[in-house]
Symmetry: C2
């Protein structure tokens, strides 16, 4: 049981109609690691600058996240993102992105990170994803996230990276854009023809769908009356999903993947209840299990006992 994730470790300044935070802990690898930490041993890989201090490390370490592969670059600044959300939280605006030390990032994994059972390649430049993928040869399951930027500017490299993983986890609009196919079922099939045996389409408040071979599974987003900050929801989903999978000893069969979708949905729902990492950092496994069972209750129905 061990899970390596490569991706941004960042500071986020976020404004939503429900409040704002300046330079709070964020980044894909951070949200992913905190979510996965409830299930398994996680090693985030990525660079930070001098501005990343003891307080930030402590948030991760308190959750048991192993920070050995977080590389401190002297004289550098950490990745920074500033964004705001409209009253309809589905509409986000990026106001500033500063790559900082991420601009020169050359992933160098420790032996322990390389030996991970599972690997998540969060949304970074696809050539970097491939470098990390090639260092984690023994992973029994690997997944990849990406974004429209790389589809536009590095599509060949992205397709090569996708061919090397077991699972693609992206927004449904990105699956359509990547394949040029507006029908999601066809688009997912096109991705699988390229290599991955599973495709997870993240659908924001509508939840997520899982395509595997000829099978389809979908869960709604967990309904919440108070959503404060959607930043990191997709990475928390991936953390719950892969974290649960890594905690499962046996075959990753359909029933296991479905349960992992449930944990992904639950972790994403907690993530958005407060700003940044606030809610997930203070979460308990009991709260996760309780919401998982609530989600189960919200999605089950019984056909009539006898056909008519």
């Amino acid at each position: 049981m061990s899970l390596t994730v490569v991706g941004s470790i960042a500071f986020d300044s976020v404004k939503t109609p429900f409040g704002e935070r300046d330079r709070m802990l964020g980044g894909a690898a951070v949200h992913f690691s905190l979510a996965a930490s409830f299930f398994t041993e996680v090693r985030p890989v990525g660079p930070v600058g001098d501005d990343f201090g003891a307080a930030e490390f402590e948030v991760l370490e308190r959750r048991g996240v192993i920070t050995d592969d977080i590389e401190r670059v002297g004289g550098g600044r950490s990745f920074f993102w500033r964004g705001r959300y409209e009253y309809d939280l589905n509409v986000a605006h990026t106001e500033d992105t500063q790559l900082g030390v991420f601009g020169e990032f050359e992933p160098k994994l420790s032996a322990a990170a390389e030996a991970a059972d599972m690997l998540f390649l969060a949304n970074i430049q696809p050539d970097l994803q491939r470098q990390v993928r090639s260092q984690c040869e023994s992973a029994r399951f690997s997944a990849l996230d990406s974004m429209n930027l790389w589809i536009d500017t590095a599509k060949d490299s992205l397709l090569a990276a996708i061919a090397e993983v077991d699972c693609l986890i992206v927004n449904d609009a990105e699956i359509r854009q990547l394949t040029g196919e507006p029908n999601l079922a066809r688009a997912a099939r096109a991705v699988m023809a390229h290599g991955p045996r599973a495709v997870v389409a993240k659908r924001g408040e509508y939840g997520a769908a899982l395509f595997t071979g000829a099978s389809f599974f979908a869960l709604p987003g967990f309904p919440l009356e108070d959503v404060r900050d959607p930043t990191g929801a997709g990475d928390s989903f991936a953390g719950g999903f892969l974290g649960y999978l890594d905690s499962h000893d046996g075959e990753l069969e359909e029933s296991v993947l479905r349960r992992a979708m449930g944990y992904g949905t639950v972790l994403a729902s907690f993530n958005v209840e407060q700003f940044g990492t606030e809610r997930v950092a203070s979460l308990s496994r009991e709260e996760i299990e309780e919401r998982f069972h609530q989600l189960h209750g919200m999605t089950q129905f019984e056909p009539l006992p006898a056909a008519r």
Copy 2:
């Protein structure tokens, strides 16, 4: 077991990237009636013009739909809608709407239509919906659809109509617009505070969600690789939903409503596979049951037997 529906009985000219049809049979009451006809006795109420002939009546009557309350207005023209869909079928453009005989419509229900056990008020002017509602006093369950036009131009009347039904069935964006509340869970609660004991949020390809009291249930749209024409999908959903409910003798408890959501989802999915009424008009109950069980299989997952 009997179900009355009031709404448009129309001709539609539709163009999608997958073909086009000129003046095909359509309208909310038609799509609803055909979908509901697999479960119960349906009476559509609404006016048609001289252009509505034997061929159109036959499509309905072949499915057992009772056409006694379809009022032929001599010298008039039937409701007409022309629209086109983009390659992304979620984007529709209305190019022409001609009210025809619908402009002067005064609903006069037959005794049999008035005595219906269930009532569906499809999307028409809310004062007309209230007139019909007051004529069907004995209905044990009633539901209402509407659209942004009436929220903009007749909101008070619409709210009065909503207060008089058991269930609101509209698109999720319309629930938000109606209540001024972007959070769907809160918006649904605001609607229920107004009268209805259930709110169904239609979510297009993402499926549909059901709010009842403190309970929440959601189903994804049935995944299809070939979608040709989305026109009428929402009304076919409502027809499957209310048709199934009307076929159920006992209390309309949560488990029954959930099963009805499944039948609504299935009927909507068949509707979009071909243009207009083509697919649902030629459907069998066996095909419906088969897809219902497939949908069930796509939404179920098992928590771990023991808590950890």
